[in-house]
């Protein structure tokens, strides 16, 4: 047992807890706060990885996570919610209890899967990857079960937190920084889109059942 492992385990574990908190919350400001907390945890995890593996360029990713996703975007979304008058309560397609149970099942699945598949890899990678996949799937779940545009963005950003965690966990992977920058651009666009187009109310979920009656094809 060593401290390098302990700290990354702690941070990744807390990120998972934050993902569950996101699924549990039904108030939009609380969701933003939890997301900011998760982003800060991510930046700490990436920073820790940069420190222990001596990959200083990862500090850029950490700083990006902290500045953009930990501070700027939550604040911007917060203001936007106030300005656009978005509903403060979140519409849920699936109830909280069921969502949490599905979340637990997804988490177990990803842990079992990754730990089994990566039996020969080193412990850092295995753990990082397993927890990251869980965070990704939970973000996915959040996007599916919430109808509000802002929570869908938060779900996507939380999913992306998992991706960055996975990418930093893979030792020596090139392009991680570039990809994290690319993702940041993507997210900024998301937020921009909400603002510009004033996407205020619900959108139909990614549930395919609901898609056919959207428009054009029904009459």
């Amino acid at each position: 047992m060593n401290h390098a492992y302990d700290v990354s385990h702690l941070l990744a574990g807390l990120m998972i807890v934050a993902s569950f908190a996101l699924l549990y919350q039904d108030r939009i400001f609380a969701v933003l706060n939890i997301f900011a907390a998760q982003a800060i945890l991510l930046s700490m995890a990436v920073g820790w990885e940069a420190w222990t593996q001596q990959r200083p360029h990862l500090f850029i990713t950490a700083a990006l996570a902290l500045g953009l996703k930990g501070i700027i975007i939550p604040v911007a979304l917060h203001k936007m919610i106030v300005r656009l008058g978005v509903h403060r309560d979140i519409d849920q397609v699936v109830g909280v209890g069921k969502t949490l149970l599905i979340g637990l099942a997804l988490t177990s699945l990803s842990l079992m899967l990754v730990l089994k598949v990566t039996a020969t890899a080193e412990s850092f990678t295995r753990e990082g990857l397993a927890l990251a996949l869980a965070i990704i799937l939970l973000g996915f779940l959040m996007m599916i079960t919430r109808r509000n545009a802002i929570t869908q963005i938060v779900g996507f950003m939380s999913l992306e937190n998992g991706l960055i965690l996975a990418a930093t966990g893979a030792r020596g992977m090139p392009l991680v920084v570039e990809v994290s920058v690319a993702f940041s651009v993507l997210i900024a666009l998301f937020v921009f889109a909400v603002f510009v187009f004033r996407i205020r109310e619900r959108f139909d979920s990614v549930d395919i059942e609901a898609l056919e009656d959207v428009r054009g094809d029904t009459k």
Partner: protein
């Protein structure tokens, strides 16, 4: 032979210790709550006086009450007392250590709860029925979480026997473990629910719509009520001891230290208990009771935490070995 006697002696001390301090712990919690509310509050020994008074009084039993109603308080007290005697308190390695299994504990408490719920329904009043049904709802949500917490500990320590878990945690190098922190949160939530504390239930209320535990015991009086109250107080001590034993075992007298280490262990234990009781009081003042319908979500949270704890414990085990 001499060892056995000593261990038996130690076990006896523990049995009577928990019985003796249980009302006091309840008194401390009440006192702390009162003080936070800027009230004088009853003295800490008030619960002792109440119990003595109740024992002296006549026990009034409804006409249609069955034998179950009359015998349940004795059984409930017995089950709870045995359970409280099993949890390692001031020393590990006492006489009943072999039986101090986490699963046995859950089973004993479950039996006591089932009896209480049956007794609540026995007389056939509507309050008793409501209380029992709510109690069982809470139990079905809390027990899986409780079991998961105990399994997390077992997975970390490699055994389900509480004294060994405690010893493992004392001896293991200090590490940061999210799983243990999550298990602690889950266990605290379960403990609040099981002891009918705020925000799940309010021990001080007799408001029809909200009470759970109090509704079940509404028909009891006299010595029966004294036993039920005693059992509830013991249960509180038990849970605080359990949390302390699993998450703060430091200061407990080790199995091989002998009686000489007991006084220190006992002093540390009492300090921890008093702190726990005071914290509980502070918590109860600072939070409002939930609607009964939200209890499911609250306990669901405990279940999620406990499940995550076991998953993370599993990951650590898997990855590091």
């Amino acid at each position: 032979m001499r060892d056995t006697v000593i261990l038996l002696f130690g076990q006896t001390i523990q049995m009577f210790l928990v019985l003796l301090i249980a009302p006091g712990i309840a008194g401390i919690t009440r006192r702390v709550k009162a003080r936070f509310m800027r009230r004088q509050g009853a003295p800490i020994i008030q619960p002792y006086r109440d119990l003595i008074k109740l024992v002296r009084k006549e026990s009034v039993v409804a006409q249609n009450a069955s034998w179950l109603f009359r015998s349940a308080p004795y059984a409930i007290l017995a089950f709870t007392w045995v359970a409280a005697a099993l949890v390692p308190t001031f020393a590990s390695g006492l006489m009943f250590n072999w039986a101090a299994d986490a699963l046995a504990l859950v089973a004993l408490l479950g039996a006591a709860r089932a009896l209480l719920a049956l007794a609540g329904m026995d007389v056939g009043t509507s309050f008793g029925g409501i209380g029992s049904s709510r109690e069982m709802m809470i139990a079905t949500l809390a027990e899986p979480a409780m079991l998961l917490v105990l399994l997390t500990m077992a997975l970390t320590a490699g055994t389900t026997r509480l004294p060994e878990v405690a010893e493992f945690l004392i001896s293991a190098p200090i590490t940061v473990r999210v799983s243990l922190a999550l298990a602690l949160v889950a266990l605290i939530i379960v403990a609040l629910a099981e002891n009918a504390r705020i925000p799940v239930d309010n021990p001080a209320t007799h408001l029809e719509l909200t009470m759970v535990h109090e509704a079940m015991v509404l028909e009891y009086s006299g010595r029966h009520l004294a036993m039920i109250e005693m059992a509830a107080q013991l249960k509180l001590v038990l849970y605080i001891s359990l949390i302390v034993c699993l998450f703060l075992p430091f200061g407990m007298a080790p199995a091989n230290a002998g009686p000489a280490a007991w006084p220190v262990g006992m002093a540390v234990y009492l300090v921890k208990l008093v702190l726990g009781a005071a914290l509980l009081g502070a918590w109860e003042v600072s939070i409002a009771k939930m609607r009964v319908f939200r209890v499911g979500e609250f306990l669901g949270g405990a279940f999620v935490f406990a499940f995550l704890a076991i998953l993370l414990a599993f990951v650590t085990r898997e990855v590091l070995n």
